[in-house]
Structures are given as structure tokens and as C-alpha cells.
Symmetry: C2
Subunit: 490 residues, 2 copies
């Protein structure tokens, strides 16, 4: 069978793009920068959604839905937010088309110009805080713990499937609290939810930390994040949780009467993860043969393939395959039989390796005689014969073991690609090599800017445990009281 | 307690609006015509989504996601479609804002004008069929059975919460088939799914039928629909399933090689239901005290309220309430205890009547002594004392019984408001009275137009079983070979 994917060593970016396309995850659409998420890719996203949604609800959150459009003037209300979000965006200026009076097709009807332009939401803080104003009067109305699953649009010039697209899908939590402490607690609680999800479901180890001033969310007091390392040594931000202070409450005049009867501004958080996680999931584990999916998020966990030559063998192996399928289904294992007669087994093997199905079972005539089944695990491609009698337990073991092993492999990779730099030369060499580079920084945004200019590396985060160390800035040589993590990033 | 809602008899439209607002289902937003779906309303929508999604998957469909934007020129490709959808819509003309050079705020950057305007999707046939062109080569690639959950925008001038909003949420199925027969079978299969959902979950009886030419979907060969009757005698279209023939395949050049090796155009269907179902759900069952929710879609099926005077009574009734809650939870019943000390029982009773919680349990000190509990069912407001020992079975019975009884009540209402008109005078009187009016129609769109002009009644559908009857047109007196259902409609 011909090689389907460019290899990672040959061209990592091309490998990624090939994989997304060939594994039927997504493709570019006729609209610049917007992707089509294909059924197989969307099935993975649905699993991500479903699990996160459970975790949000278990921590007291409810879902709601706010408008896709935001009046232009709303963005100007919060001084920093406008800089970050109101520039590259989709602007609705008219509400009607009409037949072209001078020829074919449709033209914008100049009589249908909106009084105020509408922006397709790039994020919803402004419209939501404008709404919260009417929902909050007293401390009894707080907290509001609301999440929204939605599409958002940011007009990106250079796009890559899942990683950076003009339109993407995400969830955005927007909470309102009576006190600063409670809002900070919420910010950290969600950071923990994201961490648990990344590690237990995506099987991706992440580092928790805080963003520098220049990397934080426009309008936040502090942005907390989780950062993951991809196989090419580049970092990927996998989720952010913002403590917004009273910034949006001030901008939209959201006050409440406290227990002591005083009028106070409400405290806020917001937090989100997006279809970008699909990019992380793909890049963290996959190999030159295709996707490697964590069993907990795989739409198909087990595929069963009958091997046969004669009609008679076809009938008996397919029958056995369906028997085993039914047994696995009873144990809540997501399994399918591929009994298509139009493709050869070798083609099917390659196909399910490409699609990242965690466990592949094959049954041939000899297996029928011996009451065995051929078992291949996708992560190591290790092949073994196993008795049919204990296949359920074995598959259950494999699904858990693959989940654990791909996490451990990713963790080992990160550990072997996390470095400490003690000099500028060492720093630049390590950044060139790829990985997380831990180094002292003097806290000056100008230093940060110059480092980025010279090395293309940015401060990914200030790890939560690193805030109390002192040393010398890797670039300026000035005293530094924080050791931060630099990397080139997606 | 003061009356919260306008009564239905006083002003049905006002009652509906009061109810949507007061029961915390939705509200108007700062963006004209766009609503905010509040957490309680959204929880009902999530139940609708989850059940429909299961039913779509059980019938072989998968989900995917297509872009929110559609290039303007796509609409002109299908001659009828453009008339129906490309007129009142949100038009994106620019992709950047900039600081106002002459003052405060932001202005549209004239340098960031799009070469071709983008339309925020009012429905996705065009962008999806443009995509399908690359997905279909051979009959082996068919059928495509794809659904999408998405937001859509139609620039409505007069909006009403849930019933008609500029932005709404929906699902849109788009399937592709090798033969006409298979596409028609799909159209009917989905009509059945919608019917089952409406009757078994929404508890709303519906009539299945086909739309007249002037009421069908723009671009369809035939539109099938389900129609429901609201308590004010107006009809509401609750779902549509379109047989699109080869119209979109021709418009977007989607061909496949058939088994016999010929190039043929692909056959299509599309189908959808939207947040409009929320409006149907609210109007079909609710009363002057508030919502009446079918138990299968109620976010809270049972509420337990402790009744107490002393501290000691508070402690003991609340403890018992939580014991009962835990028992109900074990049986997958969605239950909550309202043990807030800030509100009186009477206030809580009214609140949960307003919110439509199907079963209310109350426990006072005397109940503790007698090991009983007070049980009120929301549909009839009937109140009874019941032994705690068999409360699970009783609640299970009530939830099923309420589901059944509100369906039967709605069915009885429809039957008593479905009439046959034999003369024009009878027809106009019946239409004025409200309800479904069955009458012969000569099949002429001009007759249909005139009837609408004179009575505000439209042809809701041609019932599937009525296609073979012959008679005399109620309006023109000409021979008619179909008996159709007229009504004023939402």
C-alpha cells in the first residue's frame, strides 16, 4: 500500500495537514479560513463536548445561549478588550440583498444599511455582561455560573485546520460573583477541570500557570492557562481561565446590593476551550501511520475485521465477528465490524491505523478452529493472538492501558524536552532545538518583546509553583523574581 | 400572591410573552430580533436536542459542521432558493474595524472590504452541496446521511420569542442518495422521527402532510411537514422534511458514477426543527398559572419542599426531603429539594407551578409523624397525601401518567377544534372561530392567495391520507381533488 502521509521527520506541518485531511477529520471550505468539520472529526469533538459538559455541570454550571451578533459600540466599552478583539472581525453592515438592477445575481441593498454595525462574536463578554446587568440586583442573585457552546469568528489571515481558523467552535464560561475571592476560586476551579480533562481524556500532560501581561486576555486582570508540548517541540495553549476582576462590571455597569446593603460592582471570570483541542489531540499522539486516539475519546474503540478466502469462510468469520461485537457492546465498548467485501484486509488495516482506532481484532479461518482472535493495539502496533473466551476482559484492559500508556509517552516526551537555560547562548540553542525552556525573566515587557523578536519564542506561562524564585534574567542580566517557560508556539 | 401572568382568555399573545419571560425561558437581547435563551429554557432545549440526536443516530445519521458564512453567489445558483432565502439576511461586507480617525469609537475600515460579501447562513443547502461535490464520486460514496446542530439567521421584521427570531438554533439534516426512491424514503423516515418525537416527547399530537406549492421550501420538489394546533386555535408548523429532487445537485454539479457506470445527478433531502419547538411546547400545554412541561423534557421532574415553623421542624423536614430525593435519584428521576429559608412555601408552590415542574412534594411535621407526603401533580393541580414507603412507584406512575394525559388533553382539544367546511360562509365562520378547517381546494395558487387575503388562513397541509378524495372547491366552486387543512398560523 502506498504511503498516505508525509512523515513527521520530513515535514511536520505537512504531516499534520495530510493527517487531518486523510483521516477525514476536517477540510477547508469555500469560505476563506472557515473549515468543514467532517463526521469522523465531529464525532471526536462530540465526545470532547459531552465529557466537558458533564464536568461543568458537576461543578455547578448551567448552559445558556446568547446572540451571535454584538453591537459595534459594545467593544469600545472596555478599553483593553477593544484592542484585542474588535479589529479583525466579521462586520455585518446590511440586512438585505436584492436582484442586481444592472445585470445578473444579487447585490447588497443600499437601503438596508444597519444604523449600527453588528460584529459576529469573537468572544461574548460584552453582550453577556450587558445582559447580566438586568439579572443581578442583590447578592442573592449571585453567583451566576453560566456556560455557552457556540461558534465564534476571528478574522485570521493565516489559518490552519483546527489550530487557527476564522470560525471555530468552543465553549465559553462567564461567571459573576459577589467577591474577589470567590471569582478567583472559580478561575482556579476551572483551570483544574481543564487540567483533569486534558490529562485523563486527551491523555496530554499540561503545565498550569499564569500568562505574562502581554500574553493575557484583553480585558482580564489575570489569565491562567494550561500549556501542552507537541511532538515537534512547539507549545500549544490548551485552555484559558480568566480572572476579569470588576472590569466588565464597570464597563457595563453591573452592580449588586451586598449583604451589608452597599452597592458594589460584580466580580467576573471567563474561560474557554475550543476545537483547537482537536489539533492538540492529533499532534500529541499520532505517528507516521496516522492518528493515535485516546480510547476515552475514540468514536470507534474497537474494529473487527474478518479474514477469508472462500464464500464459506466469509460467512463463518463474519458471523463470529458479529458475535464478538455483540458481546463487546454489552460491556459499553464502542465497536464496529467492517465486513465490506469491496476492500481487502490489508487496506482495512491501514485505514483503521490512519483513523486511530485503538484496538483492531481480526478473525480468520484458523482463529475459528482455535477459538482465538488476532489483537493489535494501535499505540505500539503490537500483534498477539488471544483466546476468544476472555476477549472482553482483554479489550477492557487494552483500552485502559492504551489510555495510560499514551499519556505516559507524552509525559516522557515533555520531560525529555523541558530544559533549563542558564545563559543567553544556552537559551537560543535550546529554543532552536525545540521544547519548553525554563529561564529567569526580569518581568519587563520590553525584554519579552526582544526575546520574541530574536528567537520567535514567547513566554508560555509562569508556572504556578515558580512564583517565589529569584535569579538573573536570561536576556537583560537584571534581577528576576520569576522563572518562566519559553517556547515557540502554535 | 399577585397574579404573575396575563390570563389566556384576556390576551393569549400577552400570556405567552409573560410566561416566556416570567418562567425564565428567554428574553429579548440588545440586538434587534435576537433572543437570549436563559438557563432554564436552555435546559429544556438540551433535552430536546439530546433526544432528537439519539433518534437521528439510531436511524443511521451522523453529525458534522459546516461554515456559518455562505458566499453571496451561492444563493443565485438555485433559482427558487434565491427567492426564498437570499433577501432578508445578515450581510458581512467587511473584515476589520479601526479607531475612528475623526473622533471616538470604532468605524468600519474601508480598506477591509470583502471581494465577495458573505451571508450568515439562513439554511445550509448551498454550502453543503458545494462541499458534497468533492465527497461523492461513485455510488459507493452514497448515501451521505449528515445532520448539523447550528445557529441560523433570517432577518425577520416582526419577532416573537422562540416563535420567530432573527437568530435561532436548529438542526438541519442534509442527505444525498443514489436514487429518487431512496431520497423519498429518507424524507418520509424523518417525517416519522419528527412525528414520534412530537407525540412521545413534546406530548403534542400532529398531523402529517404535504405543503402546497406556495408554502413549500424554496428549492424543494416537495415539502412534508407536521402541524400542531395551539390552545388559541392557531396552527404551528413543528417540523419540515424536504424532498429536494436533483435541484441542488444540478445547481452545484454533484454527480456520481452509478453501478451501471453512468454519470448521474445525486438525489437530496433536507429537514429541520428549531427552537420554535420551544414555542409549541409552551403553548400546547401551559395554563394561567404557568408552564406545564411533559415529564420527559422537564429539567426538574420533581421538586420537594419542606414545610416548617420551628428550627427543629426545619431540620427534620429538610432531612427527610433529602432522604426522599436520594431515593428518587437512584431511580433516575430528576429531583431537587428547595430548602431555601429565604422564601415561604406558598411562594415556592407558585414558583414551581410557573416553571411547570410536573410533580411537587411537600413534607410538614404531621407528614413526619404519619410517614406521608403531600403530592401535587402540575397538570391537574390535584393534591393527595401518599405514604412515603411507596413514593418512588407513585412518582414513576405520575410522571408517565402526566406525559400521557397532557398528550390526550391536547389531542382532545385538537379533535374538538378540527372542523369540516362545506360552504364559503361556513368556512369563514369556522376560521374566525379558530382551529383546523378541512375543506376542498381546487389546487390553484390564485385561489389559495385569495383565501389568505380574505381570511388570513393558509393551507397548512394536504394530509397524507387525503390525496384521493374529490369534491368542490370551497372558494371557487371548481372541481377539487384534494381536501386540505386551512388555519391561521404562527
Amino acid at each position: 500500500m502506498a504511503k498516505v502521509l508525509t512523515s513527521r521527520s520530513e515535514n511536520y506541518a505537512q504531516w499534520y495537514n495530510d493527517l487531518v485531511i486523510k483521516a477525514d477529520l476536517a477540510e477547508n471550505s469555500a469560505v476563506r479560513g472557515c473549515m468543514v468539520i467532517k463526521p469522523y472529526g465531529f464525532a471526536i469533538w462530540e465526545k470532547i463536548q459531552s465529557q466537558l459538559d458533564k464536568m461543568f455541570k458537576a461543578t455547578g454550571h448551567v448552559n445558556a445561549y446568547f446572540p451571535v451578533f454584538i453591537p459595534k459600540s459594545f467593544f469600545s466599552r472596555e478599553a483593553e478588550h477593544v484592542e484585542g478583539f474588535a479589529k479583525e472581525c466579521a462586520v455585518v453592515t446590511h440586512y438585505r440583498l436584492k436582484q442586481n438592477p444592472e445585470g445578473e445575481g444579487l447585490v447588497v441593498d443600499p437601503d438596508a444599511k444597519l444604523e449600527e454595525e453588528l460584529i459576529v462574536r469573537p468572544t461574548s463578554e460584552t453582550i453577556i455582561w450587558n445582559t447580566y446587568r438586568n439579572w443581578v440586583q442583590s447578592y442573592r442573585d449571585l453567583p451566576l455560573l453560566i456556560n455557552q457552546w457556540a461558534n465564534v469568528v476571528r478574522w485570521e489571515m493565516r489559518t490552519r485546520l483546527f489550530l487557527r481558523t476564522a470560525e471555530f467552535l468552543w465553549q465559553e464560561g462567564h461567571t459573576a460573583h459577589a467577591t474577589r475571592e470567590e471569582a478567583i476560586e472559580e478561575t482556579m476551579k476551572i483551570l483544574d477541570v481543564y487540567t483533569t480533562f486534558a490529562e485523563k481524556y486527551l491523555a496530554i500532560p499540561v503545565i498550569k500557570g499564569i500568562k505574562s501581561e502581554s500574553e493575557k486576555f484583553a480585558g482580564a486582570v489575570n489569565t491562567y492557562c494550561i500549556e501542552a508540548l507537541m511532538q515537534d517541540g512547539k507549545a500549544l495553549q490548551a485552555g484559558t481561565s480568566h480572572f476579569l476582576g470588576q472590569n466588565f462590571a464597570r464597563a457595563f455597569d453591573v452592580k449588586f446590593t451586598s449583604k451589608s446593603g452597599k452597592q458594589e460592582f460584580v466580580w467576573a471570570t471567563s474561560w474557554g476551550v475550543s476545537t483547537r483541542l482537536m489539533g492538540a489531540l492529533i499532534m500529541a499522539h499520532s505517528d507516521d501511520k496516522g492518528l493515535v486516539l485516546p480510547p476515552r475519546l475514540a468514536p470507534v474503540q474497537v474494529v473487527i475485521i474478518p479474514i477469508y478466502k472462500s464464500e464459506e469462510e466469509y460467512r463463518s468469520t463474519v458471523e463470529k465477528a458479529h458475535q464478538i461485537k455483540d458481546t463487546l457492546l454489552e460491556h459499553q465498548i464502542e465497536v464496529k465490524v467492517d465486513d465490506r467485501d469491496t476492500q481487502k484486509p490489508g487496506w482495512k488495516f491501514a485505514e483503521y491505523e490512519l483513523k486511530g482506532v485503538p484496538v483492531r481484532l481480526a478473525i480468520g479461518p484458523r482463529d475459528l478452529t482455535n477459538n482465538t482472535i488476532e489483537v493489535v493495539r494501535r499505540d505500539t502496533l503490537e500483534k498477539k493472538s488471544h483466546p476468544v473466551t476472555s476477549i472482553v476482559e482483554h479489550v477492557q484492559f487494552l483500552l485502559e492501558d492504551i489510555q495510560k500508556r499514551i499519556y505516559e509517552k507524552a509525559l516522557l516526551f515533555r520531560e525529555s524536552h523541558t530544559f533549563e537555560a542558564h545563559s543567553w547562548d544556552e537559551f537560543t540553542a535550546l529554543i532552536e532545538k525545540g521544547g519548553f525552556v525554563s529561564a529567569f525573566w526580569d518581568g519587563d515587557p520590553e525584554t519579552e518583546r526582544l526575546i520574541k523578536e530574536k528567537t520567535k519564542a514567547t513566554i508560555r506561562l509562569i508556572p504556578l509553583e515558580n512564583t517565589d524564585q529569584t535569579g538573573t534574567c536570561i536576556f537583560s542580566g537584571k534581577p528576576a523574581n520569576q522563572k518562566v517557560i519559553f517556547a515557540r508556539a502554535y
